[in-house]
Symmetry: C2
Subunit: 348 residues, 2 copies
């Protein structure tokens, strides 16, 4: 019998490593290939950045509680986030749709009104794609381009020992927002006359349904003349992203629990759900904030920024990735993030 | 009740027109947006080309008779074909996969061995993508980049009255190949002990399962110093592509039945299936040959090319798109091509 290895045994990143390891780069225009938030291609004096993300119904979204406009917005936003994570500015998107016959023209128009709103917010042009049918459910596959000056590109591999670790916005909200949406769905399924109780949770529900890529931060870093050493967007959870930076930059990290940015609604709702709020921050996915490291010399220029938080520092690789609790205990951080191939592990 | 318009009422192209008409172009780097085989973006002294195609299990392929290696090859090839259709040279691809838990790591490796073979044949680099799960079946979404000199880009909109219409290779083979594959599948389902009878049809089965984009033609046109006025790849059938050129260039066409390139195996198999061979040529999809127009002055330079066929000429728009039969009768050509949203019409 032929060998059968389940994909969840390897996980998403293990699978990508395995299937791409035999590929080589043949074109001199290819400067960065697989392994960062986006690829980088020579384009005159700049780099053109290229990244793709696919969202599938029943895996990445549930149309029971996801408005199509928000979904269209999110599909663009999460792609733009990968361009921001390279310190780049987004420019074009191509959107490929797979539609089952459940979807009407009006439904696709709703979806595209969200795509359009995102294109306007992020100043990107819709330049193409593919519109086709699917045997079941909705598929949204987006590719985004961006630009970055050659000397300003931020890679996952360039963090250095002594760098200060920065995170934007707040973390964990999208994950706990998802818990609320799922709970209200169950309440509705059990009793369709119950109204969903979302008014109490506008911020966290919005963070899940309509995240906003942090292109604002990229413009501000340029204005403040700060170039991050390494950068990544927080899509799979802070813990997972720290491990990517650690692995690719050959550094370790100390992260301080009392420096982690968490919104009050996230905190209160986590407590309500009996989930440790720090678990939401460390392992909850889909925040689409930015995680980056800066040289200590750049701290002065950023220290008054209201939405950039200094959560720790980079150290020797051998020390690993660590969380320093409020009680000064030090725990190794596991790489556990959102893995679509093994959803059961999520949030544990 | 809300209005519900079925997508098949509009068809793929009507839907694309409807959902993209409110989008505007904001970035000066965007030179060609939605509406051609690929978008064109300024990139130093050249244009960077960008195109995407999605293939969904149960719609675009049937794994009962499609080897995964061939499918991986085809996913790249059909995207590269869109770059060729702009007179460009492909350079990079990003590949996003949706995988249900039916697929093992070994299956994905098979698929990627085909992706790799295509990357080598077409000299393109795999630079990224997304690997995620799907609720059902296999989804392959590819975006390809390419390059073209600014003065050599070939658009759908630049055919001129008097141009000679050229088609590469031969047409209709992929469509009739699909009929054979479908028939053998039914035979197998009825009696699993029957062996599929594909040895008789190697060429047409191969044209369906593993089409090869005509990047060779692009290099030869450059060597012969011929720039097509207008170009498109033949993915939805010759009739449909002629109508795209007609609409976007404001010209009509006369196409001669006796000039249409058809392989003997295609012809014989069409007869065996009781299908008019010319219907296969005109309306069968997935040939991935190139359809282009040239100035009459360029005919001399191409006339001895063994794989470029001169099938008609462009005329005034008012005359429409016409087929001149062997008996010199003239029939208007309907735009009927492959439409995933209305498969029943296919091939009629």
């Amino acid at each position: 019998m032929e060998k059968r290895t389940e994909i969840k045994e390897l996980g998403e990143f293990g699978l990508i490593d395995r299937i791409t390891r035999n590929f080589d780069i043949k074109n001199p225009s290819t400067r960065i290939g697989v392994g960062d938030d986006a690829a980088a291609i020579e384009c005159g004096n700049e780099y053109l950045l290229l990244s793709a993300d696919m969202m599938n119904e029943g895996v990445h979204f549930d149309l029971t509680y996801t408005p199509l406009q928000h979904l269209g917005y999110k599909a663009i936003s999460i792609n733009v986030s990968d361009i921001a994570a390279m310190n780049g500015v987004p420019q074009q998107v191509v959107v490929s749709l797979g539609l089952s016959n459940r979807f009407s023209v009006e439904a696709v128009e709703m979806l595209y009104s969200g795509v359009k709103a995102a294109c306007e917010d992020f100043n990107v042009d819709l330049v193409g794609g593919d519109t086709t049918s699917s045997a079941s459910g909705l598929i949204i596959s987006v590719t985004v381009t961006g630009r970055v000056d050659r000397d300003r590109i931020a890679l996952r591999s360039k963090a250095e020992k002594g760098d200060i670790v920065c995170a934007t916005g707040d973390l964990g909200a999208a994950y706990i927002g998802l818990q609320v949406l799922e709970r209200e769905k169950q309440v509705f399924l059990a009793n369709p006359e119950m109204q969903p109780d979302l008014e109490k949770y506008p911020y966290i529900a919005g963070r899940q349904l309509k995240p906003k890529a942090r292109t604002d931060i990229i413009h501000e870093l340029a204005e403040l003349n700060v170039k991050p050493n390494a950068m990544i967007d927080i899509s799979d959870g802070l813990a997972s992203e720290l491990h990517h930076l650690s692995k690719q930059s050959n550094v370790g990290f100390f992260i301080y629990e009392d420096k982690l940015p968490i919104d009050k609604q996230t905190y209160d709702t986590a407590v309500e759900f009996n989930i440790d709020p720090i678990t939401c921050v460390m392992n909850g996915g889909e925040d689409y904030e930015l995680l980056f490291t800066i040289r200590q010399d750049d701290f002065e220029r950023l220290k008054n920024h209201p939405d950039i938080h200094f959560i720790g520092y980079a150290t020797e690789k051998e020390k690993g990735v660590n969380l320093v609790t409020k009680n000064k205990n030090v725990y190794p951080v596991k790489a556990q993030g959102w893995d679509h191939f093994n959803e059961k592990e999520k949030g544990k």
